[in-house]
C-alpha cells in the first residue's frame, strides 16, 4: 500500500481524534485527588460481616465513618467522637463522653444515643459483628446527655483500645433504622471527613469532602479512589498521571518511580509483621530444633537483599511502636549456635532435621522468596525444610483447625498495638489463631487477659514475649514498610496502621 498525502492526513486526523476522546485528565494543579488503591471495598457497613475485620479496607471506612476513639498517624490514641472515657473504681462499669456539635452526613446531629445504639448493636450476637466477643462484654448501655454508661459483664483491659480498631465505628441510629441494612449499603452515611458521592463496586468510590467535619474539612474537596488490584496496573496508573497516589507496589518500582520527575515517595513502617508460626508438633517439640531454626535466620540480610532495605527486623511479635516492645529481647543471628543446638539433638549437615514449611506466594511482598531464602539459610546449619505453597484461605482453615505444618509463614497486623492482639491471640492455645499449645505459655498468658494494672499488664506481656523468644515458640521476622508513591503536588502523611487516608493528604 502506498502512503499518499491524503491517507496520511486521514490517519493523522483519526489518531488525533482518538487521542483526545476520553483522554485521561492529567492533573497539573490537582483539583480532584485520585488514589489507586490495592484492594476492593466489598461492603459499606464497617461493623458486621467479613469486611469488617479486613484490615486492608479500614482506610475506606475511616474516610467515611468515625472511630469511637481515633488513632493518630503514630498510633497514639486521639480524641474523637468519644472525648473522654474510663472505668469506675471496681471496673464494673464504664463511662464515655460524646463530642457535641457533630453531625452526620445527612445533617442530623450525632448524639450519645447513636453511640449507645452502636455499642448495643455490635454487642448483640444476632447482628453478625465479628468482634461481638469484645462488645458483648458490656450491657445496659445507656445515654444521658452527652454521656454514655454501661455495665461491665466481663472485665477486659483492652476494651477501649478496641474502640480504635476493627468494627469500632459509630453508626447513625436514626438513618440506619430508617433505611435498613440494604439501604445503608446502597447509600451509606457516616460522620467522617468524607461523604460517599458515588460507589461502583469493584471500580471506584468517589468521595466528597464533609465541610462540617468536626476535625476540620479535608483539603481535597473531591477524592476518587480507584480499586486497582494489580500491582503493575497501579504502577502504570501513577506513572501515567491517571492517579496521584498509590501504594503497595514492588519496592524496586517504588525506588524507580520516586526518582522520576513529578513523583515522590514515602516509605514508613506499618503495623504489619512477617512471622513464622511454629506448630508444636513433630520435630518442633524439640526446643533445640526451634532455637536452631530461629538463630539461623539473618533477618537483616533478608531485608537488605530481598526487600531493598525496606523492612525492620524484629525478635518479638511487638514492633517498636507498641507499648509492650522490649528492645532487650534479642534473638541473634548465630549459625554456629544453631549447629551446636542441632548437634545436641543429633542433627547436623550430614543428618539434617526435616520438616515442612508452608508459605503464601504473592500474598505479601516477597513472601515466598523470603521463605526460600530462609530455607537456604537453614540448609547451611543442618535443617532441610520442604516448602509447601498454599493460599491464604487454606492458611486460615489450617490455623483454625490447629493443623498448620511445623512451620508456616504468615503476616500479622495489629494496628491497635496491644500485646493481647499480637502475642495474645497468636500464642494463646485456645485462640483459633494460635497453633502453639504449650502449657507454660498458656499459664503465663492466662492471668494477663484480665490484668487491671496497666503497668503490670504490659510488664507481664514483656515477660511472656521474653520466654517465647528464649524458647523459640514463634519466629518473628520483619516489620513491613509500606511504599506509597504520589504526585509531587500532593503531601501524603502515612499512617502506621497501613490505612491510606485521603483526609491526611494536602497540597504540597
Amino acid at each position: 500500500m502506498k502512503l499518499s498525502r491524503r491517507s496520511l492526513l486521514k490517519t493523522s486526523a483519526a489518531a488525533a481524534t482518538f487521542a483526545t476522546v476520553g483522554l485521561p485528565s492529567f492533573a497539573q494543579a490537582i483539583d480532584e485527588l485520585v488514589v489507586a488503591y490495592n484492594v476492593n471495598l466489598p461492603s459499606w457497613d464497617p461493623t458486621v460481616g467479613l469486611s469488617a475485620v479486613n484490615p486492608t479496607i479500614q482506610g475506606f471506612y475511616q474516610s467515611v465513618f468515625d472511630l469511637y476513639i481515633p488513632q493518630n498517624p503514630d498510633l497514639s490514641f486521639g480524641s474523637g467522637i468519644i472525648t473522654g472515657y474510663g472505668w469506675n473504681d471496681d471496673n464494673s462499669a464504664i463511662w464515655m463522653d460524646v463530642r457535641e456539635g457533630v453531625t452526620w452526613h445527612n445533617g442530623d446531629p450525632l448524639t450519645a444515643d447513636d453511640v449507645a445504639w452502636s455499642l448495643t448493636r455490635v454487642g448483640n450476637p444476632d447482628t453478625g459483628s465479628p468482634i461481638q466477643f469484645v462488645w458483648g462484654k458490656i450491657e445496659n448501655v445507656v445515654a444521658q446527655g452527652n454521656r454514655v454508661t454501661a455495665d461491665v459483664k466481663e472485665y477486659d483491659p483492652t476494651f477501649f483500645k478496641w474502640m480504635s480498631f476493627l468494627t469500632g465505628y459509630v453508626m447513625p441510629k436514626k438513618y440506619y433504622e430508617e433505611v435498613g441494612a440494604e439501604g445503608f449499603e446502597a447509600a451509606p452515611i457516616g460522620s467522617g471527613p468524607y461523604m460517599v458521592e458515588k460507589f461502583e463496586r469493584n471500580a471506584f468510590v468517589r468521595l466528597k469532602a464533609n465541610e462540617n467535619y468536626w476535625g476540620g474539612a479535608p483539603e481535597f474537596k473531591t477524592v476518587t479512589i480507584k480499586f486497582v488490584t494489580d500491582a503493575a496496573s497501579r504502577v502504570a496508573e501513577v506513572e501515567s498521571g491517571n492517579s496521584h497516589v498509590t501504594l503497595e507496589i514492588p519496592y524496586e518500582e517504588f525506588d524507580r518511580l520516586k526518582a522520576k520527575d513529578g513523583l515522590a515517595g514515602v516509605a514508613e513502617p506499618v503495623s504489619d509483621i512477617g512471622m513464622i508460626f511454629l506448630n508444636d508438633i513433630e520435630v518442633m517439640t524439640d526446643p533445640n530444633v526451634r532455637k536452631a531454626a530461629a538463630h539461623a535466620i539473618d533477618k537483616q540480610l533478608i531485608v537488605d537483599r530481598l526487600l531493598s532495605g525496606y523492612g525492620i527486623p524484629i525478635d518479638t511479635l511487638q514492633t517498636p511502636d507498641y507499648p509492650a516492645y522490649d528492645p532487650s529481647i534479642k534473638v541473634a543471628y548465630d549459625p554456629e549456635l544453631s549447629k551446636k543446638l542441632l548437634a545436641e539433638s543429633g542433627y547436623g549437615p550430614d543428618n539434617p532435621v526435616k520438616f515442612k514449611i508452608q508459605s503464601t506466594k504473592g500474598y505479601k511482598p516477597k513472601d515466598y522468596e523470603m521463605v526460600q531464602a530462609i530455607v537456604g539459610l537453614w540448609r547451611r546449619v543442618g535443617i532441610e525444610a520442604e516448602i509447601e505453597v498454599y493460599e491464604i484461605a487454606k492458611h486460615f482453615e489450617l490455623r483454625a483447625a490447629d493443623q498448620l505444618a511445623p512451620a508456616a509463614f504468615y503476616n500479622w497486623g495489629n494496628s491497635v498495638g496491644d500485646p493481647t492482639t499480637s502475642t495474645g491471640f497468636a500464642m494463646f492455645g485456645p485462640s483459633p489463631h494460635s497453633v502453639w499449645d504449650g502449657e507454660d505459655t498458656f499459664n503465663a498468658i492466662l492471668p494477663l487477659w484480665a490484668e487491671a494494672d496497666e503497668t503490670k499488664r504490659i510488664a507481664g506481656w514483656k515477660e511472656v514475649d521474653r520466654r517465647i523468644a528464649e524458647n523459640a515458640e514463634v519466629i518473628p521476622l520483619i516489620q513491613y514498610v509500606q511504599p506509597i508513591v504520589h504526585a509531587a503536588g500532593v503531601k501524603v502523611t502515612p499512617h502506621r496502621s497501613g490505612a491510606l487516608l485521603p483526609h491526611l493528604m494536602t497540597r504540597s
Partner: protein
C-alpha cells in the same frame, strides 16, 4: 420441524450440562482447601462461635443437604447470599454480566476486523513478503498470552503515550444515571457520545488484549480457507469474467471461505469470555471476571457457584447460537 426438534434437544442437553456443572462446582469448591468460616473468625472466637457461624451459613449440614437447599433456591431464582458482599448473588452476577458481555463483544469485533484484514491482506498478496509478514505477525500474536498483551498495551497506551484509560469502565467524574448495565449500548441510544467515547477509551485496551490472540487464529484459519477457495473453479470463472483480484477475494471467495472461521469464532468466543477473568483484573474492569477472582480469594462459595453457573450458561448459549447461525448461513445444512 427438524430445526425445532434440534433446538429442543439442544435446550435439554443445555439443562443437563448446567446441572452437571452445578454438581461439580458445588462439590469441588467445598472439597478444595479454604474455608470461608475460618477466614471470618474473630481473634477470640470459641468453638461455640465457630459452630454458630457455620450454622448461620449452612455449612453445618452435609454437602448433599447443602446442595439440595441451594438447588431448591436456584429453581426459584434465588442463588443465595454472597458471604463477602452480603447481597443476593443473582443481583450481583446479573449486574456484572453486561460489562463482561460488552467487553467480550467489543473484543470479538476487534478480533474479527483485525483477523479478517490480516487474512485478506495475506491472500491478496500471497506468496510475497506481505504474506510472510502477516504469518509472522499472527504467530507472534498467538504465542503471547492475552494478559501479557495487556501489560504491553498498558505500557504503550497507558504510560508512554497515555491515550487510553488504564483502569475501570467509566470515568468517575461522568455523571449519568444508566437505566441498564449495558453502558456502551445505552449511551449510544441516549446519544451521549461523550460517555460512549469515555467507555470506549476504558474498554479499548482490555478488549484489544483479548482480541489480539483471537485475531491471529482468525487470520490463520481464514487465510487458509481463502487460499483453498481461490483454487476452486467458480473463482477461476470469476477471474475469466474479468473481475479484479479484490472483487474475486471479497465477493466470490470470502462468503464460502468464512464458514469454518465462523464456527471457530463461536468456539473461541467462549474462551474469550473465560479470558476476561484475568484481563478484567489487570485493567480493574468491573465485570464478572474481576468479581470471580475476589469471590475465589474470599472463598465466597455462593458467589463462586453463581458466577460459574452463569459462565456455563453463557458458553452453552453461545454454542447454541453459533450452531444455529451456521445452519442459517450454510444453505446445504439449511436444506438438509
Amino acid at each position: 420441524m427438524t430445526v425445532l426438534r434440534n433446538i429442543l434437544i439442544r435446550l435439554l442437553t443445555t439443562a443437563v450440562t448446567l446441572f452437571g456443572v452445578a454438581v461439580i462446582v458445588f462439590v469441588v469448591i467445598r472439597v478444595v482447601p479454604g474455608n470461608p468460616i475460618a477466614m471470618m473468625l474473630p481473634p477470640g472466637a470459641t468453638d461455640a462461635d465457630i459452630a454458630q457461624l457455620q450454622a448461620q451459613y449452612g455449612f453445618d449440614k452435609s454437602i448433599f443437604q447443602q446442595f439440595i437447599i441451594w438447588l431448591g433456591g436456584v429453581m426459584q431464582g434465588d442463588f443465595g447470599q454472597s458471604i463477602s458482599l452480603r447481597q443476593p448473588v443473582a443481583n450481583l452476577v446479573l449486574g456484572r454480566l453486561p460489562a463482561t458481555l460488552e467487553l467480550s463483544i467489543m473484543a470479538l469485533v476487534m478480533a474479527m476486523l483485525m483477523g479478517g484484514a490480516m487474512a485478506l491482506l495475506g491472500t491478496r498478496y500471497r506468496d510475497s513478503k506481505t504474506e510472510a509478514a502477516v504469518d509472522v505477525s499472527a504467530g507472534m500474536a498467538l504465542s503471547i498470552p492475552d494478559f501479557l498483551w495487556g501489560l504491553v498495551l498498558i505500557l504503550l497506551f497507558g504510560v508512554l503515550w497515555p491515550v487510553f484509560h488504564i483502569s475501570g469502565r467509566i470515568s468517575p467524574s461522568l455523571n449519568i444515571d444508566f437505566s441498564t448495565n449495558f453502558y456502551l449500548f445505552e449511551s449510544l441510544i441516549r446519544l451521549r457520545f461523550d460517555v460512549w467515547a469515555d467507555l470506549v477509551a476504558h474498554m479499548f485496551m482490555p478488549a484489544l488484549a483479548l482480541a489480539i490472540p483471537l485475531a491471529a487464529i482468525i487470520a490463520q484459519l481464514l487465510k487458509q480457507s481463502l487460499k483453498e477457495t481461490m483454487h476452486l473453479d467458480y473463482v477461476t470463472l470469476a477471474r475469466t469474467k474479468g473481475y479484479g483480484e479484490n472483487h474475486v477475494i471479497t465477493r466470490e471467495a470470502l462468503p464460502n471461505a468464512i464458514l469454518p472461521t465462523l464456527t471457530l469464532v463461536g468456539v473461541q468466543f467462549t474462551f474469550l469470555i473465560g479470558g476476561t477473568v484475568i484481563i478484567e483484573r489487570l485493567f480493574s474492569y468491573e465485570g464478572l471476571g474481576n468479581m470471580a477472582i475476589d469471590a475465589v480469594i474470599n472463598r465466597d462459595l455462593p458467589l463462586i457457584q453463581g458466577i460459574v453457573i452463569l459462565f456455563a450458561l453463557l458458553f452453552t448459549v453461545v454454542n447454541l447460537v453459533v450452531d444455529m447461525l451456521y445452519v442459517v448461513l450454510n444453505p446445504r445444512l439449511r436444506h438438509a
